[in-house]
Symmetry: C2
Subunit: 448 residues, 2 copies
């Protein structure tokens, strides 16, 4: 029963638009969930999308607009007049409206704002534009429910009824004093089910209220949502006055984005790229690490060339080069992944040394097991001496890689560089060079 | 002003427990946010934790219990008598209670349930135990707010007031008919602010209600929350009767867990491991890929050994082995990462061929740029011939790696194997062997 966008359905929509078959469109498209409508508009030409969009109810328009893919939405907005944009903004939450304006030029913003009819909404949006996009101020919306601590339940209910017209999702009612300072929160339950003569002061909760300042960085906001399992958080200015709230739906999007970015960084992709990015953009996002990897490879070549004599005498030495570099890379990536994940969760390491000690123990165990196995394989493959060289150097490489994999993300983090950079190409490249050096040094010691 | 757990504070708590300094504990610990209390208990010995836990209010106990780290909670629960466990379960949401019982033996579950005083709660929990943990039934809780479609607003308000005692977080009120079939949803706003004589039938919303069946898999539940930006979802049985709901706080935890698991799989860690897992457990989680990597390395050694003659003639060929394998690995991981992310988001690929075509174009561009660079480096390093060999084979390796990186996760996904397995060690190992083969084949063609 769930909607699934098919090629045929899309063709039918296009046909209906061409033939101006309003009846078909109203019946088959306008009744869908706004998320599904947005999915359809994402696939249409801009003019086709506009045709459908302007047949939607105003409320649905706002929802659809915020669901469009970013690129589609930018294109769509840019094809509207400033008057039309102003009309669309009136239906949006202030944070969404601000997000749309961020994409316009200062001149356009000015024109759009001046054409908005709801002055209060316009003021809210202008206010939000002052905050950095990556701070609590940039994430918050100005629509929230609040009551004064001195009101009766009856007064509060009347007020909340009025406020609720502008607030789409009700999570918490904030309690403020006369100068708008946040005093605590009131649950919907206690408001709706309390005697109407009671005073809010006697009903609200003021213990352990988690809030953020407008200037708080996005990462700290995420950490608080995560740690305290929040669904919304009040945002305060420097005088502790309540100025907005951030809700979980915005936060979920950011959690996903951050996880995606860490994953991409760790796999050697330096810029955030969407599925549908251009070939040029994808190439540009990937090239930096490939070139660094290549320079690492060149350094590796330099290391091997300085042991050319050994290879001439024992050509079988060359056989195990890929294994040594691969194992150094694998172990390094495994170690760094764990550190990166812990750091992403905001874990502070009580002691680097205990972390390092544990990784060394794991490395020791893995090293012993892998070295014993490879000793057998290499001895059969070549000579007993080769077996000794390969297994000893593999053991040392695994230990070194464990240490590097643990230390490097911690060091990067210390210098405020994203530690996710360390997992993947960086660790791999470093361990390649290091591994080769260890391998040939051990070989030289044993074969001469 | 936010709580930050320090070593000193922990020492003070331990001291206070030893000295039975209840005043200090009540003042400094019991007033904290339950998440912070859980963080403290995570660090204490079991007996110490129990001492604090049983001084908390019942409501707070339930919250703290669910916030403990899994291992700590299991240890804690196992140190309680079945009578004590039964008492704790009475305060929990049914889904949380079921999660705790999952960890016990059948006998213990039986004993605990039989000692619960609230029979209705016990029934709910027993019912939940029937569902697979990874399905909607295993995720849902039995506590939710509902009204009958034929009730008046006044009747509904009275009923909801009663129900709300058991429901901690109010998101949506579900509307059902006489045999409990889900008809739609009612917003809190419209219930609380409508005339008390109106009938729910005339107020509720029945369009585009997103719901799931009890047997729906966890991934599909996640996809729906993500796609439709839900905060809760109703769960239906086979007759479309409403049996539970899943809320966003449970889903956020799972989103994070899945992102973590993908990240770990992609970095060669096969089991989920916590920060504080034992050395033995960590080793076991990492060893499988290391051994596969080693076998891959052995295969690589086999490839090189079959070209031993070429190395004897041109030892400089060995120099560039690490570069060729590293580049194959890097490109493969980059390509696969993008496919894995798209698949994780539930994107269906309209056409494998268009995806592959794009990756090939990106590979072509990266290949041309990297090959040109390495041609210069290798020519200076060795001979012009070496430059030709290295640059041609690097170009071919990059193209092959792009194709492999794209195809393998798609193929794994087709056969219901987690495609995240493909990013990382698997692709790297495969591309190592393939790259070596390409490199030496090109070398043979050019040098002979």
């Amino acid at each position: 029963m769930r909607f699934e966008l098919t090629k045929e359905f899309l063709e039918n929509i296009r046909l209906a638009i061409q033939n101006n078959d309003l009846e078909w469109i109203d019946k088959n498209v306008l009744e869908l969930h706004y998320v599904d409508i947005a999915e359809i508009l994402d696939e249409l030409q801009n003019e086709e999308a506009k045709f459908i969009y302007f047949r939607l109810e105003e409320e649905v328009q706002a929802d659809v607009l915020m669901e469009l893919e970013e690129e589609v939405r930018d294109r769509f907005i840019k094809s509207l007049s400033t008057k039309e944009i102003a009309e669309q903004l009136e239906n949006l939450d202030s944070d969404d409206a601000a997000d749309i304006l961020y994409e316009l030029s200062d001149n356009e913003i000015h024109e759009v704002i001046s054409q908005m009819e709801d002055d209060e909404a316009a003021d809210d949006i202008v206010d939000l534009l002052n905050y950095d996009e990556d701070t609590a101020g940039g994430l918050m919306q100005k629509e929230f429910l609040y009551v004064n601590v001195d009101w009766t339940v009856e007064e509060a209910l009347t007020e909340i009824r009025e406020q609720a017209k502008d607030v789409e999702k009700v999570y918490t009612i904030y309690v403020v004093d006369d100068i708008n300072k946040l005093m605590g929160v009131l649950s919907l339950k206690s408001l709706f089910f309390s005697d109407s003569h009671l005073i809010i002061k006697d009903l609200y909760q003021n213990k352990n209220i988690i809030s953020v300042k407008v200037t708080e960085e996005q990462e700290e906001v995420m950490r608080l949502f995560d740690k305290y399992g929040l669904v919304s958080i009040p945002v305060l200015d420097y005088q502790n006055k309540l100025v907005g709230r951030i809700t979980i739906d915005d936060v979920v999007d950011i959690i996903r984005e951050e996880a995606d970015r860490d994953f991409q960084l760790a796999t050697g992709i330096t810029e955030k790229v969407e599925d549908n990015a251009s070939v040029f953009k994808i190439t540009r996002a990937r090239l930096p690490w490939l070139i660094i990897g290549m320079l690492g490879g060149t350094l590796g070549a330099k290391v091997i060339s300085s042991f050319e004599g050994n290879i001439s005498i024992v050509p079988a030495l060359a056989f195990f080069i890929p294994m040594i570099t691969a194992m150094g890379g694998n172990v390094g990536v495994q170690s760094s992944a764990i550190v990166v994940q812990s750091l992403a969760k905001g874990n502070q390491f009580k002691s680097i040394f205990s972390k390092l000690g544990k990784e060394l123990l794991v490395g020791l165990l893995n090293g012993i097991i892998c070295s014993s196995l490879i000793f057998g394989i290499a001895s059969v493959f070549g000579t007993l001496n080769l077996g000794v060289v390969v297994s000893i150097s593999l053991f040392v490489v695994i230990l070194f890689a464990s240490v590097m994999g643990t230390l490097i993300p911690l060091i990067l983090d210390k210098y405020d560089i994203d530690p996710a950079l360390a997992t993947g190409p960086f660790i791999t490249t470093l361990n390649d060079v290091l591994g080769l050096f260890i391998y040939f040094t051990v070989a030289m010691l044993i074969f001469t």
